[in-house]
Amino acid sequence: MTLAGVTAYALSGADTVGFAGGAVAGVGAVALVAGIVLRLPFAIPWAVLLAGSGYVVARVHHSVADGWAAIVGAALLLAAELAAWSIASDGRIREERAVVFRQSAAVAALVAGAALVSFLLVGAAAVSATAGLVLTGLGVAASVGAVAVILRLVR
C-alpha cells in the first residue's frame, strides 16, 4: 500500500519523466508484493531501491527540494518493515498479543522518528543557499564516515 502511494505520488508529476519514474516505482511495488507472496526477503531492498529511484526520477526536472520527500522516505521504511515482518511471520508460531503490540509500537516509533528526521533534513536543505565546494567536501566526508561507522558497528 505504501509503495503504491509512492508510485501514485511519482506519477502525479504528469509529464513524461514523471510517468517513467512512476513506472520504475510501480515495478518496485510489484517486486515487493512478489517478495512477500513468495517469501523472498532479498526482494525487499531491491523493491525499496526501485521505488525510491522512481521517485527521484520523477523529481529530476524539479529544482526545488520536495517537502513530501520526508513522507516518501518514511513510507519506504514502513513498507520495508511491514514486508520484512510479513515474510518473517510464520503461521505455525503463535505470537502473543504483547509481542505483536510491542513490534507494532517499535515500527510506529521508528517510522515517526524517521519522518521527523527527514523533515528536518528537507527543511535544512530548503533554507540553505548554494553550498560551495568546501561544504560539499564536508558532506562527502560525513557520508563516507557514516557508512564506515555503520560497517564497523555491523562487524
Binding site: 531501491l49 521504511l77 509481542v99 517499535a106 524517521a114 527527514s118 528537507v122 562527502v140 555491523v154
Partner: protein, 423 residues
C-alpha cells in the same frame, strides 16, 4: 547463544550508503530524506542492541503409560527485557501435542519469570528424549537475533500398554523356590499327589487315617509342592512389519510386558532376551524390581538393521536356564530368528512361539503378479508355522485385532494335545 546480524541490517546499511553517495553525486536533497529513515533504523538498532539475558529450564513428567497425557513445562527467567523470544520444542515421534503450542513467540519483561506449559499424549511406548528446545531472541528492531537451544532435555519413558491375562502358559519344569506352580514331583505342598505306606521320619500330620483304617497299617499322603518357574521372554528384534501407527514390534513389546507382569505376579523368575541386530539380555530374576528392569529394557528395544549371521550361541548361558520356559514373540520374518528358535528347541528348551503376524500390516494388491506374490508369502508363512510345529514348538498366530489371551490359549491347547517330538 549465538548472536548474528539479520539480512535486514545489511540491506538497510547498503540502502543508506547507496543513498548518501547518490545524494552527493546527483546533488538532490530528497535522496537524503529518502535515505535518512534507513540510516536512523540502523543507528537505533545498533544503539539499542543488547545481549539477551535470560535462563530457561525444561521439566517434564518422566514416566507414563501409552495413551497417558504428560505435562511439559519450560520455565523462563529474564534479567533483561527480551522483546521477542521464539520457542520451538522438537518432539520425538511417539509424543503428540494435546494442549499448548509447540512453537510460540513470547515477550519477557525484565525480572519476569514465565512458565510455558505443553500437554503431550504418549502415543507409542519407548524412551523418548524430548527436544532439543530451540530458542531465538530478537532485538527491538529485528536487526540482530541470538539463537541457541536447551541441550539438556528430559527423557520421558512411556511404558507399553498391557493386556490383562487370565491364564498364562505353564512350564513343564519347575524350580526350587516356592511359587504358584504345582510341581510334577512330590514333596511338601498342598496339592494331593498320591498315597504310600508310612516310613520312619514321616510326620504324623501326613497320615491318611481312613486308608490306614482300611488297610490295617499306616499310610501317608504325598503332595505336589508349589514351586516357581523360570520364564524367558524372547523378543525378536531383527525385523518388523510396520504400518503408519503400529508395527509388529509394538505388539511384541506390549505382549512381553503383559506376560512379564503376569509371571512376576506368580512369583516366577523372568528373564529377557532381545534377539536382533543388537543382542540384549537380562538374567532371570524375581519380583517387582525385575519387572521394572524388564520393562525398562523393553523400552530400549528397537529394530537395528544387521546382516551379521548370529545364533543362540551368543546368548550367555546363565540367561537361558536349562529348565526354563522360553516364550518367543516373533513376526517370523527373519531367517536368523527362525533358525535360533529351532536351535533352542533342538537343545531341549521348553519353547512356545507367539507369531506376531505381519500380515495385517501388508495390504494385498488387488490383482496381478503382486497379488500372487502376496498369496505365496502368506502360504509360506503357514508352511513355516507347520515346520515349527513339526519340530515340537507350540506356535500360535496373533493379530493386532485379537486379544493376546486367544493366542496363549491356542498355545496351551497345542501343548496339551501335541505329541512329544524329538528334534
Amino acid at each position: 547463544m549465538t548472536r548474528r546480524a539479520t539480512p535486514k541490517l545489511g540491506a538497510y546499511a547498503a540502502l543508506s550508503g547507496f543513498g548518501l553517495v547518490a545524494a552527493l553525486v546527483l546533488g538532490r536533497p530528497e535522496i537524503v530524506a529518502l535515505t535518512a529513515p534507513f540510516l536512523l533504523a540502523v543507528g537505533a538498532g545498533l544503539a539499542l542492541r543488547a545481549v539477551p539475558r535470560f535462563t530457561a529450564e525444561i521439566a517434564a513428567d518422566e514416566r507414563g503409560v501409552e495413551g497417558d497425557e504428560l505435562g511439559v513445562r519450560i520455565i523462563f527467567a529474564a534479567s533483561a527485557t527480551v522483546d521477542r523470544l521464539d520457542v520451538f520444542v522438537r518432539l520425538p515421534s511417539g509424543l503428540d501435542v494435546v494442549d499448548g503450542e509447540q512453537a510460540r513467540s513470547l515477550r519477557l519483561a525484565r525480572g519476569e519469570q514465565r512458565e510455558v506449559e505443553l500437554t503431550l499424549r504418549a502415543s507409542r511406548w519407548g524412551a523418548h528424549r524430548l527436544g532439543p528446545v530451540y530458542l531465538r531472541a530478537h532485538d527491538p528492531f529485528g536487526l540482530f537475533v541470538s539463537e541457541g537451544m536447551l541441550a539438556r532435555t528430559p527423557e520421558i519413558r512411556v511404558y507399553p500398554r498391557e493386556d490383562t491375562l487370565r491364564r498364562i502358559l505353564q512350564p513343564r519344569d519347575t524350580q526350587l523356590f516356592t511359587g504358584n506352580e504345582v510341581a510334577r514331583r512330590k514333596g511338601e505342598g498342598i496339592e494331593f499327589a498320591d498315597m504310600r505306606p508310612w516310613a520312619p521320619g514321616d510326620p504324623l500330620k501326613r497320615v491318611n487315617w481312613r486308608a490306614t483304617a482300611r488297610r490295617g497299617e499306616l499310610w501317608v499322603n504325598e503332595s505336589h509342592p508349589e514351586r516357581n518357574t523360570d520364564v524367558i521372554l524372547f523378543v525378536d528384534s531383527f525385523a518388523e512389519a510396520r504400518g503408519r501407527d503400529a508395527g509388529t514390534l509394538d505388539l511384541a513389546v506390549r505382549a512381553t510386558a503383559a506376560l512379564a507382569d503376569a509371571y512376576v505376579a506368580r512369583r516366577d523368575r523372568i528373564g529377557l532376551i532381545s534377539f536382533g541386530g543388537i543382542l540384549r539380555w537380562l538374567e532371570p530374576g524375581l519380583g517387582t524390581v525385575q519387572l521394572y528392569r524388564v520393562v525398562d529394557a523393553l523400552l530400549d528395544t528397537q529394530i537395528i538393521l544387521s546382516y551379521y549371521w548370529t545364533g543362540i550361541d551368543v546368548i550367555p548361558r546363565r540367561t537361558l536356564p536349562p529348565s526354563a520356559l522360553v516364550i518367543a514373540l516373533s513376526p517370523l520374518l527373519d531367517g536368523r530368528s527362525v533358525d535360533a528358535l529351532i536351535d533352542l528347541r533342538a537343545r531341549g528348551y521348553d519353547l512356545c512361539v507367539i507369531d506376531v503376524s505381519p500380515v495385517p500390516f501388508a495390504q494385498r494388491p488387488d490383482s496381478g503378479i503382486d497379488a500372487v506374490a502376496y498369496d505365496i508369502w502368506v502360504l509360506r508363512r503357514d508352511a513355516l508355522r507347520h515346520r515349527l510345529q513339526r519340530a515340537g514348538i507350540a506356535v500360535a498366530e496373533w493379530r493386532e485385532e485379537a486379544p493376546l489371551q486367544a493366542a496363549i490359549e491356542e498355545v496351551r491347547a497345542f501343548r496339551r494335545h501335541a505329541p512329544v517330538t524329538r528334534v
